[in-house]
């Protein structure tokens, strides 16, 4: 039980430690500036270096977590693909009736490919450019990093819409898909920037219809386990991102724009990484739910 609790408590502990450390550094640097006025010239640069040495590990952990998540999801989809394909062939009569299309497999494979080769490297590049911008403010890469972040967000939106569209097409025969499927796509288009919150809230409503069906198949505890497994990395990344945002808010009045700006930029990048993790989580749960529905249809149960 302790191990299970630690999974949720550890990120929060880390966040608390980071906040205490950064506040201590802020006090230390302010005291140094007060007693040695000449130090002011070096203060910002040294503060950035100290921050990178302290919080850099958290950022690296977030990226390695994301890398692991993509690898696990990729392996999972690779393992599930033959099962799904076999089911498609075996249950051909059912699926010709419900107009199921294996295009969904293509969408998931494409999702993995894009995450691994484009989305995660792009977020890394945006983070490096942000660092360069804040380190020497006269050489600004802010527009480039904003462009990269915007493009990544657009790709996430496009992928989510692709998944929702495919699910709507295939789901028409399963259930009568209503606003629960249609509204997330609209909201995602409308609110591209605060996408993470929108994804979390609307992601739940997407599964609303499927959830009841799947819960009867797998049971409540199994479904809870799926949900936690799917969205735990995203939750962890969200805590990290919000920690950086919080640090930026605390530090801003005492250190000036450079430090808080850097922390805020790191928070933004981690939030973007979190959006990618949520997208993968949604894909993971989609596959599970579809698999369960297919199996139930295969044994002749109707919904």
């Amino acid at each position: 039980m302790n191990d299970l609790l630690n999974v949720f408590i550890d990120p929060l502990k880390l966040a608390g430690q980071s906040i205490i450390l950064v506040m201590t550094y802020t006090i230390l640097f302010l005291v140094l500036e007060a007693f040695i006025p000449k130090f002011k010239k070096w203060a910002d640069t040294l503060f950035i270096i100290v921050l990178i040495l302290t919080l850099g590990q958290t950022v690296m952990d977030s990226f390695s977590l994301m890398g692991q998540l993509v690898n696990v999801a990729s392996d999972f989809f690779l393992g599930v693909t033959p099962i799904l394909t076999s089911l498609l062939v075996v249950l051909n009569s059912v699926f010709s009736f419900i107009a199921w299309s294996p295009v969904i497999l293509f969408i998931f494979e494409m999702l993995m490919l894009l995450c691994k080769n484009i989305l995660i490297p792009a977020v890394t590049v945006a983070l490096v450019l942000d660092f360069c911008t804040r380190f020497i403010q006269d050489i600004s890469f802010s527009k480039a990093s904003d462009l990269i972040r915007g493009s990544v967000m657009t790709m996430i939106t496009a992928l989510l819409i692709a998944m929702v569209t495919v699910l709507s097409f295939t789901g028409v025969a399963f259930f009568t898909i209503d606003q629960a499927i249609a509204s997330p796509a609209k909201k995602v288009i409308e609110q591209t920037i605060p996408i993470v919150g929108s994804l979390i809230v609307e992601g739940f409503s997407i599964f609303q219809k499927y959830q009841s069906t799947a819960t009867t198949v797998a049971g409540f505890s199994a479904m809870t386990a799926f949900w936690i497994a799917a969205f735990f990395p995203a939750g962890k990344l969200l805590i990290h991102a919000l920690t950086f945002k919080f640090l930026a808010a605390i530090v801003e009045p005492f250190t000036g724009g450079t430090i808080s700006g850097l922390l805020d930029d790191v928070g933004k990048s981690l939030l973007l990484l979190c959006a990618v993790a949520i997208l993968l989580g949604i894909a993971f749960v989609f596959i599970w739910l579809i698999l369960m529905v297919i199996m139930q249809l295969g044994v002749g149960k109707s919904f």
Binding site: T45, T124, V125, V128, F131, C132, F135, I136, I139
Partner: protein
């Protein structure tokens, strides 16, 4: 990207030590060169 970070770090050190805005031009030039080579590497040209 590592080259870019390296030049930014070196540039910042130069700017802090030299305390002259003239150095900034050289740092910008070096950064631009590194940026272009990084882009060319990325595009495999």
């Amino acid at each position: 990207m590592i080259k870019l970070i390296a030049i930014i770090l070196i540039g910042k050190c130069l700017l802090l030590l030299a305390d002259e805005k003239d150095v900034l031009v050289y740092v910008k030039l070096a950064t631009l060169l590194i940026f272009i080579t990084t882009m060319l590497d990325f595009l495999k040209l």
